[in-house]
Amino acid sequence: MNKVLADILDRPVPKGLSIPKVQALIKEVAMLDTNSKLVYSASGERIIKELDKYGVKDIPQNYRGVLLEHWLELLSQNQETVTEVPRPTGPDATTLTSDQLTDLGESAEKRTQQKTTIQAREKEAVARFKETGEKRYQDQQREEALKEKQAQELLNQFFKKVGGKVVVVPVGEILEVQLTKENKEVLLATEIAAKEDPATTQKVFEEKIQLALNNSKQEYKDSIKGEEIKKTATHLVETLRNLPDHKSIDEIPDNPKSLNTLSIINPLSNPNSPEMIAMIPDKESREEFAKKVQTLMLTAEGKRVIDLAGARAIFGEGGESIIYSLYGPDTITDFKISNDEKDRDEGVEIDPQAVYEKGKQVYNFINKVRQAKSAEEVTSTALAYYPTYTYSGVTTATKTVSTLTKALPAVGAVYSFRQGTLLAHWAKSGTPLLSAGNQNLVRLLTSQASVQEIASASLVTFSRPIIAFESGGVKVLLVTGTNKALGTQIAVGGVKFGQKMAGAIAVKGGTQIAVVTGTQAGGQLAVGASTVLTKVLTFLGGLSTPVTAGIGLVVGYLAGKVIEKLPQIKKWFQENGPVLAGVAGLGGLALGGPAVGGLVLFGGLAATGSLAAFATGAFGVLGLIGRSIGIAIATPVIVTLLVLPPLVAFIMLVINNSAYVVPPSPYSSSLNGGADNPYMLVTKTANPTKLDNSSSNQTVIYVVSIKALKGNLTNLKLVSTECSVIKKDKSKVECPTEFISDLDGASITPGNDGVFSFTGIYGPKYSDSLIYDRITISATNEAGEEITTSGSESVCIGNCPTDCLTVEGTWPAQQKLNIEKAREYIIANNSDYVAHVCSQYPDGLPLKYGGSNGNLWGYFKGTHLLFYGKGTDSESNAIYTLAHEMLHALVTDLKAVEIYLKYIASSAITETPRCFYSYEAYKLEERLADAVAFSIMPVRYCSITGKDSNINQWPKHRDFILKEVFNVN
């Protein structure tokens, strides 16, 4: 036995040694051992001293390497946490003593043997480690499974305890959607087209989406396929076909209330809420439950985002109200879990187990998709879930195409958006994000999204009405329907007398009938003569999207309370008809539901679970998201079809583009679609910027400079260019052709700007005009996020229409640049407004700077506009401030103050346009000024409302401003 070796192998690892340190020492020792030319080494001496510190003084030099290898093996087995240590420096001499040379020669053979031994031991150690590791892993898995099982058992106890029902009641405001006459005309036209000729309507929708895509970013073009477009179009057709039959726009309400369908299950997503803690005391179980609810919500949110993108491509920006009425608002309405027994009759019942199981299913699927190694694999997985169908049958294509062409706006582009409503709501309510998986979903949701395929299926069918007649002011209807998935039946009947109505809803499986009475368009409602369902019905009264969401909600609410079979419904009508007629005769309450603009009492669907019934009824008409959630609870397969493909599409988008943008915070605001950002600055300059009128062509050289502000920027791309010519005499002139080459994915670094130039040639037709140019560029930052920003410039030829708004006095350079660009933007985008304001100030309305002045942004000072630091610290803020203050300059005594008098007598003041300035709430002049600013500036995020500043949210203001402020008739 080699005693030395035996001794070595018995030595434990000294304290303080780590794997890297041992590895470093081995290297050094090996170098000393193998370099035959080494006679003496200062570093060798240092290494020896270093080793001596660990008690190896008595070990022969030629065994030191063996000892170190042994320690390395031991350390590797224990897998200690490693800490990098400073590595010894290299040898600075090349001499070795003769004794050392002798030792080296003698030990060579032994070392070979030792290494073989050590290698064998290493193999054994690795095997042992693997075995141990696997055991540990299995133990860990078992432990987690046990925990999950325990959590599941506790959850099961909870599910059992609540008897499959948790009641939530609304405590927040249900928002209204304002539908203009034009909105209603579009809605009616598309609804009729979808019902009469779905095949052609689908085709037209597909074409519009395709056109929108053609105008969109390349990434959308790349990621959105034909099949996906078809699905989007199909879904919208299906949604429109589910609307009640409106004969005229008068039957569609002006201000239907609309509910974000996620609001209902949102109370179950916060594990820290007192109600949740009371319901599920065990923390782990509670978090497990909430995690799955969050997953479900995030997925559905993603689905909704896709729906909105698709609908926007079809209805355009002017159709926002239509879109929100079909898909619900962005805002989550507060609901709370109620333990109050009486709320069981007033709230909405949710089956928590069904929600949990659905969330779990989605969660597992997400994990499965995440493990896919390629986009192809994701696609193939997703394709397995695709329901595909196209409308067929006899079409009247020409007529439908003509109708839709007239009804729908010109196609714009599919534009990107960020989704933060749900997250902002959670942030405000203190709901933690419970899993990494969900965090990934959040990233997906906050990334750019686009039109994706949307699954759809005819889940509800209604028979022809059993009873349907109209006489004088009285209308009566009884209709039955079937849930194709479950086979359950529903019957809905009602009577409308004038503006009063009431309805009865019956769902197979219930025990009694329920009666709803009320008035058209959202009056206070009562149910029968019994307990008033105050909270639910408060919004039920107005929860009348054009698609009778209200009745759907009633159906859901009443799911557990209604009678079982159709014959009994008929019997009930026979028995109770005279009573109800009597009520109607008194001019009070008549039969009918919270129907909209007529006796439209369907949209509901029976199901065993109350939430499913609720969702299929209420959501079925609100949009596919809700419907999919609801039906998923009862029929997971169908939900899988409906919910998961968009999620997969999202993931595909991310895989394909390898870029998504997470906004810095839910409350960040940015203009220009997020163009202003801290990573990139685009400046566009023109030389010269002022030209005299000329009878010959004049040349302007534009220079675009792209500056990286924080780290390198790669993949630079030219996203878009905009140009407009504003003539003093308001005549129309086309922009000159500019030849701008793409950036071809170039890169820039801080201090190394990217610069390119192009030329504009302006002939005599551009006399007395302002040529406004804007260029938008995207890039990828070091975090892999795509960022976009814009730069603009204008050229004034002759007496161009900026003569009123003169920038005067001393300005900081950046602020001056911003206000000049803001002026150019407003002139370019709304010359009518500028002309109107300037008409009141023939001697000019100077724009002056007043210093930083805290939080103040700007003032109208009677003869000039005064701007402060914050109001002009970015181009976007400057646009808002200038547009706002210009209105004050216009609407004041001795100027166009008649506008104010008309405003306070108009219905517009019933709306409160708000974004990030609080005075609009109670100062009418500020409200109008902000509404004007919202009409002009690029849409931006609103910190007060959590929504955006799109003026279409306030159509009465929009219309008033168009007519009275912009003078556009």
């Binding site: 942004w857 004041t892 005594d893 103050v897 008649e898 008098l901 306070i904 219905s907 002049e925």
Partner: protein, 193 residues
């Protein structure tokens, strides 16, 4: 379906005739109501005695108001004061009649842009204002011209002359006026932000 006049009973004919008379009277009333001159409108406010359409501030009762103005569109108690509201040509704001201890103490009349009454007309009638106060809309030039001793105040744009409201109250001094009616008004205008 044609109706044979001969088949209608005498009672029914009388009823229809009465309805026709009532309708004609109603039309005459409406036409007269909309045919007021500027003088009529000014005379509605007789500051010296604080009256409005035969109503006397500090004296008239609810019944007198109803007899003169008609039934209100809205009636309610607020802070022990009875409010009667009447719709105006501005759908957003109503005329208000306020009674305390069953006596009329305050009237607010809404003026719209189509009314011909202007700031200058009232100034001609009442002379220069005793005080000017500033409240909502003051940032764009709205002023309240107050005549506490005459029991009248009105809000409008001095430059262009448009009026938005005329108030009637029992003659008082400026301090009491501010305390009782002018809580939202101050001596200095707001600036536009």
């Amino acid at each position: 379906m044609l109706i044979n006049y001969k088949n209608i009973s005498k009672k029914t004919k009388m009823f229809i005739f009465s309805l026709l008379i009532l309708f004609i009277l109603f039309v005459i009333y409406i036409l007269n109501k909309n045919d007021k001159t500027i003088d009529d409108q000014i005379n509605q406010v007789k500051p010296q005695i604080s009256t409005y359409e035969n109503l006397t501030l500090g004296k008239s009762s609810r019944n007198e108001i109803v007899n003169n103005i008609g039934l209100p569109n809205k009636e309610y108690f607020d802070n022990n004061k009875l409010h009667l509201e009447y719709t105006t040509l501005n759908p957003n704001f109503n005329d208000e009649f306020v009674l305390e201890n069953e006596r009329l103490t305050f009237i607010k009349k809404i003026i719209v842009i189509n009314d011909k009454l202007r700031v200058g007309d009232l100034k001609s009638k009442y002379g220069n204002e005793e005080y000017i106060l500033y409240g909502p809309g003051s940032s764009i030039g709205l002023k309240m011209f107050v005549y506490p001793s005459k029991g009248v105040a009105f809000i409008g744009f001095e430059g262009k002359g448009y009026l938005t409201e005329v108030w009637y109250f029992e003659p008082t001094n400026i301090e009491q006026f501010k305390t009782k009616f002018g809580l939202n008004y101050s001596d200095t205008p707001e600036e536009i932000q």
